[in-house]
Subunit: 643 residues, 2 copies
């Protein structure tokens, strides 16, 4: 176990206290074993010195050379000759920018990702048939990874890269700490350098969406004071929204691809590495001609169509059933306890609230159960790529949350036509979204962390030095669980904005104000509440893009319907028969739908400069292949001539 002065701890592996020393030693041996001889990870490890760590916190680093080799293997791209990004090659290091300072050549987040990728694929040696210390825990050397085995046995509390206070200080001022940061664009590249592409995409999207809210919010504000007929107001706002949000979605595609190009992740779609949890038999890859795991597609399809889709459908049906049961009970209660001026009024008021409270109490845990179930089912589908995995998980969550968030609003708006209730519900949701969720999600954990931190300090003898970073982060920060819940929050909000805005334009204004703070609160959360996430490559926001697109499409239907259902609008068209009135709005809706498609067709998905860059890289590699083939052919001819 090396503890040289140059050791830089990058990643923390927190064992549970139940793990015996012999198993720990075995893990450390595999992590530090050299790559060539023992097929190890060739990493540097050290126990944290802090007594608080109880020797369960392992700090992991690597030599510079090891990291550079890892960067080459992962095809990490770095700036080359101050012009383009190129896949890093150890032998070609001199041509890369900043290579004169090798320790800072790789970003800390890149180093951490390299170590993480290496750790994940480490397997037991071929002669090891059981986990040391546990003769009953058999090993299948082909399939089991060290980390997989430890997770099976619940020996790992968490694995996370260390936050870097210096680096955070560099970004936090402009991002969320200063007052004027509220009205400033983020430096998304700094965010990407610290958190990786996956998280950076979330923040880029949130900012892009927030900015897109400004014109709609302004128009909503103007229209609500404009002296005109309701029909004019509603339809202007509706038409504007259809055009605006269609452009928004298309523009985002372009922004998203430009970012992927700037970050060098554009061709990762093809070269994406399999997930470490992906299992399957070993086969020769038809692409790279190397050994790789393969799980038959038909098996995955079978699992999807026979297991996960039916279960998802069942959950959706269950949600619907619960909602309508709640609704029926609510109606019944309202009948049983009328709001007359009787002496029972206070009791009636309480009783009328009971079903809603009961419903909320029921729905929140149900949502959590569904999220776990969706994760479990997506794991079960055994996706090869992280992107495929996330897209499938997102779709499941999307469907469910769509039902859950909007079913009540839909029912009130379109079946009961009770706009008082819709307005009330919208207010409630927006406020809950803005205050309650923010509290439970962000401020809650932060207070929790403070309390824990003070406990850490209290438990310690005053003579001791300060608590080590690794221990602090392991004990006080919340493990990072992906960007899903953050996307879901925006998605839900966009739902309120898009689906009902024609009639309730003030929702947009609330959303705008909320998001300006939301972005900074989220930034704070990622820096100070969560453990640092591993930088995960990404080249778009995945299925969320479809989720937003579908919502915009549904919004056209709901908004025209909402407008048509307003009594003031019906009056405006009082000369029309019912049939004519409906046909008029159906025609308007079709025109808007066609408009949306025309816009999405007219705006090219890929900006011109990215298209050229793509063509260029394709051309260059194609030319290289050609030159290689020519060289080989010439060599073959020469050798024939000689003989």
């Amino acid at each position: 176990m090396s503890s040289s002065s140059t050791f830089e701890p990058l990643v923390v592996l927190q064992f549970s206290s139940t793990i015996p020393d012999v198993t720990k030693e075995w893990v450390i041996k595999r992590l530090t074993a050299s790559q060539e001889e023992n097929d190890g990870a060739d990493l540097l490890v050290r126990y944290d010195m802090d007594p608080e760590s109880h020797n369960n916190i392992l700090l992991i680093g690597a030599t510079l050379h090891r990291l550079l080799i890892g960067a080459e293997e992962l095809r990490i791209k770095k700036p080359y000759k101050q012009k383009t990004l190129r896949e890093f090659l150890v032998s070609d290091i001199d041509h890369f920018d900043n290579s004169e300072n090798p320790t800072n050549f790789l970003l800390k987040s890149e180093k951490q990702r390299i170590i993480w990728e290496e750790m994940q694929v480490i397997r037991p040696l071929e002669h090891e048939h059981f986990v040391p210390g546990f003769p009953t825990k058999a090993i299948t050397p082909e399939n089991d990874t060290i980390l997989g085995l430890l997770r099976d046995m619940d020996f790992i509390v968490s694995i996370f890269p260390l936050h870097d206070k210096e680096d955070i200080k560099l970004i936090e001022h402009d991002w969320f700490m200063s007052k004027d940061s509220l009205f400033k664009s983020q430096d998304i590249h700094k965010v990407r350098n610290y958190f990786g592409e996956n998280v950076a995409y979330y923040f880029a999207f949130l900012e892009f969406y927030t900015k897109a809210l400004i014109p709609t919010a302004l128009l909503g504000l103007i229209l609500s004071f404009w002296p005109s007929s309701d029909f004019f107001k509603y339809s202007t706002f509706c038409i504007f929204n259809v055009i605006w949000w269609s452009i928004f979605i298309e523009r985002w595609k372009r922004v998203s691809i430009t970012l992927a190009y700037q970050w060098g992740t554009l061709d990762l779609q093809v070269f994406e590495r399999p997930r470490s949890l992906y299992y399957g038999d070993l086969h020769r890859s038809p692409v790279t001609n190397q050994q790789e795991r393969r799980y038959p597609t038909w098996k995955r399809s079978l699992k999807k169509y026979l297991v996960t889709y039916p279960i998802t459908m069942f959950c959706l049906a269950l949600t619907l059933w619960i909602y309508f049961t709640y609704y029926a009970i609510q109606k019944k209660t309202e009948k049983t306890y009328p709001l007359d001026k009787s002496i029972y009024l206070p009791r009636a008021k309480v009783m009328r609230l009971a079903p809603s409270i009961g419903y909320s109490l029921f729905v929140v845990p149900l949502n959590m159960v569904y999220k776990k179930l969706a994760t479990y089912l997506t794991n079960y589908e055994n996706h090869r790529l992280q992107s495929g995995y996330e897209n499938n998980l997102t779709s499941k969550l999307f469907l469910f949350y769509f039902m859950n968030c909007f079913i009540g609003l839909f029912y009130e708006a379109f079946f009961n036509a009770n706009y008082g209730n819709v307005a009330q519900l919208l207010t409630a949701f927006v406020i809950i979204n803005a205050i309650l969720l923010k509290f439970t999600e962000q401020i809650g954990p932060y207070i929790f962390k403070r309390v824990k931190k003070s406990q850490l300090v209290v438990n310690r003898a005053p003579t001791d030095a300060k608590v080590s970073d690794a221990v602090k982060q392991a004990k006080t920060l919340t493990p990072f669980e992906g960007t899903y819940s953050d996307y879901l929050t925006i998605f839900e909000q966009y739902g309120y904005v898009a689906l009902f805005s024609a009639v309730f334009p003030w929702v947009t204004i609330c959303a705008l104000i909320n998001n300006i703070f939301e972005l900074r609160a989220d930034a704070f959360k990622y820096c100070y509440v969560y453990q640092r996430p591993f930088a995960q490559p990404a080249w778009n926001i995945g299925s969320w893009h479809y989720a937003f697109d579908i919502l915009s499409l549904v919004a056209i239907v709901t908004n025209t319907a909402l407008i048509a259902m307003q009594p003031s609008v019906r009056e405006y068209f009082s000369s029309y028969t019912d049939a004519e009135y409906i046909l008029f709005f159906v025609a308007a809706e079709h025109v808007l739908l066609a408009l949306k498609f025309a816009i999405s067709f007219a705006i090219p998905d890929i900006p011109h400069e990215v298209q050229i860059a793509k063509a260029k890289s394709l051309y260059e590699s194609n030319q290289a292949l050609r030159r290689e083939r020519e060289r080989k052919a010439l060599k073959a001819q020469e050798s024939i001539m000689k003989s």
Copy 2:
């Protein structure tokens, strides 16, 4: 002028009789000049020996070596080591299949295309400032090509590759000559080898579409005899059609991509060569770093938005206006000449036909003018790539023909609700389509050709040998003008099938029968009526795909509306109010639209094996680039060590 015994005439250049000999000689000089010294095309040429050619028919060929170099330049792909297709490299020829027989290594269509591409880019020498023989015709050496100059001066009648009787005999038996060929799939690869990808895609699509008609035609037949309510019949057929044609479109994408993969044109999207008619200033390409012409995109956009789109819109409006004028006159005539049993009955009947006849007489030339105009406008837009050019031309034609073919039907069906008329119109269109067009398009020219041929023979002294192939083809065959009109014919037919089939299922049956013959008649036309087309690379059917997709989308709307408008269906729902009835059908329509999108989303566009092949080729060229960079870096290090 070489006339060696190995000269194989491949391409025919037919001069007009007005061209002076000095100009002809100049052209021939540029065509035969060597590439290195005089920047010529390095081709072989010979005047046709037939006296009938009057020395105006030039036969063009090339040495084998020249053709092989051309194949390398054009990145033509050939089978490599019996496994994959690879870009042809002269130095690597030994590894390609069939290279032991070099004369037949390249297909005749490939040789012809190589010559064609070379001919197109030949420019005058730098010191030539005017066309020999025409001191007033100045040359801009930067921009003018030899062929461009000749075309400007109307000196070219036609340029076409020679048909090959032997090759046609090899394909015609299975394709259209034998009786059982009617019910046999085409060998599309043979078609591609003879005509190139562009034409092959047309035939592949026509066959795929015809096969897709079988199930709908069968269901239509069964349903028309099924004892059940109209509503059941119509809605079953409609739902089936929505699902079936959505699958059809998605399946075609997959078939189309698979063909592109098998023909090696999949990556031509990126490496497509500019059109020879494309003009612009010389710039260094950001992709290949070589000199190339560039025309600013903003200029093209300006032309589109300020000139071509407004003109197109105006033409569309004009068509509408003409139709409604015709319609008004028709109504007026019907009033003026009532079909009562007066003595004027015969006269009334004739007068009532007059507007229709006038309309037809007016519309046919208008269509031809519009086609010319659309071609002119698309030329004017100056598209860089042939695919971009064709897509823009297709869109213009599509819009216009959509209006033109369907406006009458729409009007009768949805505004007049006159189903007798709709049925009559449909019958008329289908019959016109099947018989009249076939005659004018195919049988007409064929007879014309026979007549011309016999004239050729008659004019000749009986002692002379038979007429040369080149002369025969130049004088008797119709110049090939692209696949547009063929696609338009299927497109129009698909419109009748898709837009109105729920209520008139027999249209599908007619279409099926028609297409079985259509395919063979078209094949005959391409082999015996048209001059041979130059093989033009293609990787899909271009914008026609969108045209069919949009038609399927519109079909959902029209079919649900048609069903809803049937009196028998209204009766079936007699308990509904008008508003409820409309809402029911609107809801049904939305469900069908959603279904279509779900299907197009669920079926992946690229088949698995093609995806793997694409990833593989990307991986291989990427690896080659890596190896090259490593080699360069090592060399650089070595040279530093040495010094």
